[in-house]
Symmetry: C2
Subunit: 338 residues, 2 copies
């Protein structure tokens, strides 16, 4: 029995629940190796099974380590689960309401984060893939030679993705952000069809064998931009150095936030200090004000403080940290690009 599945069986036993329903594509991929391209329902109990859509049967049969059955209808699936004696069902917090509604009259349903909790701790094989994704992304960034690039933002973004694919990525890990000038004060800015202004903020990542990377660099040009950059760099460095198993995630957010606040920019740091990543670009836990999760070996979490001055510019610096005894920054891209 696969370790991931036996862990879930333990969780179910402890909570006296008979089965766990997974629908999120990356959760099913994590458990079975099969990543749905259409809806799918994965039922974990002693006899795990995946109900896949007809159009996915070929790929599911080729890739899944769990038995696959063709989904016919909710009625049939519910009948078969009840015939197996399943009365209580754990669901993912992300389950959509319409599916919950189809199941709620036939099962005693409880929302459980079993799989999210397992996915927090990466195996060495998972970390290797994140490292490789990061290596591809950072190498591509250097090849892009952004400081001498004369293209509009959206073409620069595009060229960065092309380089990542040429270097072995399957795709970008999220919509690549290339933003510049006043737009850099938008944390999730969309690249525009306009030439690069200053400063230039690039937030990008690659996917390698399903696993994501995530980095941000900001290239500043004036004294006032450099002043803000220095504060963000200090928050970035000190937060990374503070990471230690046993601390709470919110304590690392506190380190970055306190530094930025001391310099008077607390209100301009408008997001969390970081998020986990893996098969998804955003996973739990995160370095945020409210996240009390205890940091443990095997977690992989970004550190990305930022200061955003509306109408002027923004600065964000981001690296991804694999936690082994102490935090270890993945990759070797300099923070200052020049």
């Amino acid at each position: 029995m696969d370790l991931h599945i036996s862990n879930i069986l333990n969780d179910l036993k402890n909570d006296d629940i008979q089965a766990y329903l997974l629908t999120k594509f990356t959760n099913i991929e994590y458990i079975s190796g099969y990543k749905p391209t259409s809806f799918a329902f994965c039922i974990i109990n002693e006899n795990p099974i995946i109900y896949a859509s007809k159009m996915d049967m070929e790929i599911a049969n080729k890739t899944s380590t769990i038995d696959v059955r063709e989904f016919e209808s909710f009625e049939v699936m519910i009948k078969e689960l009840k015939e197996e004696g399943i009365k209580s069902l754990a669901i993912e917090p992300e389950l959509v309401f319409s599916t919950y509604e189809k199941l709620k009259d036939d099962f005693d349903i409880t929302s459980k984060t079993y799989i999210n909790t397992q996915r927090m701790i990466k195996t060495p094989f998972e970390i290797e893939k994140i490292e490789k994704a990061t290596e591809i992304a950072q190498k591509s960034f250097m090849q892009l030679d952004v400081l001498n690039n004369k293209n509009p933002e959206n073409v620069v973004a595009f060229d960065l993705v092309r380089l990542m694919i040429e270097n072995g990525a399957s795709k970008e890990s999220f919509d690549t952000i290339v933003t510049s000038g006043a737009n850099s004060s938008l944390p999730h800015a969309t690249p525009q069809d306009k030439l690069l202004e200053k400063p230039i903020l690039i937030d990008w990542g690659a996917v390698f064998k399903g696993y994501c990377s995530d980095n941000t660099r900001t290239m500043v040009y004036t004294e006032s931009q450099q002043e803000i950059w220095d504060i963000v760099a200090e928050a970035h460095d000190k937060a990374i150095r503070a990471i230690k198993p046993g601390l709470k995630c919110c304590e690392i957010d506190g380190v970055a936030r306190d530094i930025i606040t001391e310099y008077g920019y607390g209100d301009n740091f408008i997001h969390s200090t970081g998020h986990s990543l893996g098969l998804d670009i955003h996973e739990t836990p995160g370095f945020s004000i409210k996240d009390e999760t205890i940091i443990r070996d095997g977690m992989v979490i970004t550190v990305e403080p930022g200061i955003y001055l509306e109408g002027e510019f923004g600065v964000r610096l981001e690296d991804t940290v694999a936690i082994y005894k102490k935090g270890l920054v993945i990759g070797n891209l300099p923070l200052q690009i020049d």
Copy 2:
């Protein structure tokens, strides 16, 4: 008052519900013009309001036609909604369970498709954007000159996206499918790092001002491939000609499915005949076996029959139809590429 909002107010009144909660990004974009880049909660009643995340406040204030307030916590939002006298709340079927759980003790909650139903009928302005997206996508496809392309599948996919962006798209409307040889029997194949084999199947689309396009072409080379292609083309053409307001969506699926079944390939047509598109690449209604929605003027639905022979190859042909009195294929790309 915006027409979209007043329609929802009517729906709420008819069902005696006080407010409608929207969380899906494209639903909020449809109603307000602001497309969230992080979580957001849009409450529609006589005084509509959007609770946006701190990091989205700048872009939300710039783009939303509805008042925006910064989201602090579920507790604060629930308290403010209750102070407004809201006791009953309609939600989207797509709402995630964890959010439902946070609200269920304070409100009487019902799942409603008001907004999906409204989004079914496109305005002329929306159809124009879908037409423009299709024009960009088809022009880019022709520029790609796939029959003389010597690159691997994933580079061809990439080059098609680049052409779409150069031609004015903001991005691809879904992960571009360039697949060939035996892999073409997977409806949602991932482009591989291998040279194009035969047949070649390309399923692609552009996004223009938020609106999606969707087309598929299959280039066949042998007599047996051409034989399958001819059947799919017949199903494609006859299904399109059958589209008429007043019919049920499942009747159009039936036209395509009956033809493919008569030729003995019913079991190899492993998905629905088509889906609506707009701000999302997959919207309701669809030309599927079970969809009894009545076809109406203003719907925009794809027609994409396919035959998939596992281990051999697959053929799919797809066009998008804007329904005005009778179906009208968007774009003018020939079905047979040579």
